[in-house]
């Protein structure tokens, strides 16, 4: 019979092959999941003491991180991007931010981020976030304060 001609260990090898294939497929799936990128643009200053209600949940965090008394939301946008797709967000002061999701492990999001001011490259970075995670980018001056970019991904 044919089974008698099969070399010893063939079946375990085939099983292992399919197991590796399944694992690879499982690992590849999250990387293909579109990423919802949300950008909040706030201006932080010492003019007054008003904190935008949209920042109510992170008010204490902002106060712990920065030395500003007022936080005002200027803009807030959300885009869903496929891995490898670049989304561009306009920023105040002639600046712009480009975000590209790059392949990542399960339950993680990796974003390639570039912030430009005209032709000048202000920042190029790659961030790894948990889904639903948040990171802040700040510093560029605007009006009487500085811009704070609130980047989150899900």
């Amino acid at each position: 019979m044919a089974s008698r001609d099969r070399k010893p260990g063939t079946l375990p090898r085939i099983a292992a092959f399919f197991a590796v294939l399944a694992l690879a497929a499982g690992a590849a799936t999250p990387a293909e999941t579109p990423v919802s990128v949300e950008l909040g643009v706030a201006v932080a200053s010492n003019d007054g003491s008003r904190i935008d209600p949209q920042l109510a949940n992170i008010r204490a965090k902002l106060k712990a991180m920065f030395d500003y008394t007022s936080y005002r939301m200027l803009d807030r946008r959300k885009r869903t991007l496929a891995v490898g797709e670049t989304g561009e967000f306009g920023l105040p002061g002639g600046r712009s931010m480009r975000v590209t999701p790059v392949p990542s492990a399960a339950n993680k999001v990796r974003l390639a981020v570039q912030i430009r001011e005209g032709q000048r490259n202000l920042l190029t970075t790659t961030l790894g976030l948990s889904r639903g995670g948040m990171v802040l980018v700040g510093g560029p001056s605007y009006q009487n304060g500085v811009l704070i970019l609130i980047i989150s991904a899900d």
Binding site: I58, L122, G132, L136, P140
Partner: protein
């Protein structure tokens, strides 16, 4: 005056229909005659009973009138309610739709722009940081606080 004539005139006396002179004569006889006095007393009682009965019927009639007024008012009220219900059924969708529209405009936003930020995590890894024209600082004050990339523009801040 004898009893036969007096008895015929007692009722007229009670009703005040006799001329004063005749009334005085009948009164004089009745006051002096126990039989005619008893007849007068009897007629007066019957008269009182008749007046009571008449007034009771009159009160009953007033009660019926009042009851009918209430019934009529109730019927009219029910008619009014039915009219209002019909109008409400016909036009209620307008304020309901307006309220829904206002609610939607106030609370719905396609990108959740009005809802407060609700970060699930501040766990961020920064794989690379580059800038052509600025100095960059990575601020990390612990897991409970967000990571911050601070851009210090040369010559500005």
């Amino acid at each position: 005056m004898d009893c036969a004539k007096a008895v015929k005139l007692i009722e007229a006396l009670i009703d005040g229909r006799l001329p004063p002179r005749e009334a005085a004569e009948v009164r004089e006889h009745v006051d002096g005659c126990p039989s005619c006095g008893a007849e007068e007393e009897s007629l007066r009682r019957v008269g009182a009973l008749l007046r009571l009965w008449t007034s009771a019927r009159a009160a009953e009639g007033a009660g019926l009138d009042a009851m009918w007024t209430r019934v009529a008012a109730g019927i009219e009220e029910r008619r009014g309610e039915r009219r209002l219900a019909a109008i409400a059924r016909k036009w209620l969708w307008i304020p309901a739709a307006a309220a829904l529209a206002v609610f939607t405009l106030l609370f719905y936003s396609p990108d959740g722009a009005r809802a407060p930020f609700r970060p699930k995590s501040f766990d961020v890894s920064v794989e690379s940081l580059e800038s052509d024209t600025a100095t960059l600082a990575l601020v990390d004050k612990g897991e409970d606080l967000p990571r911050v990339i601070w851009i210090i523009e040369d010559g500005k801040s």
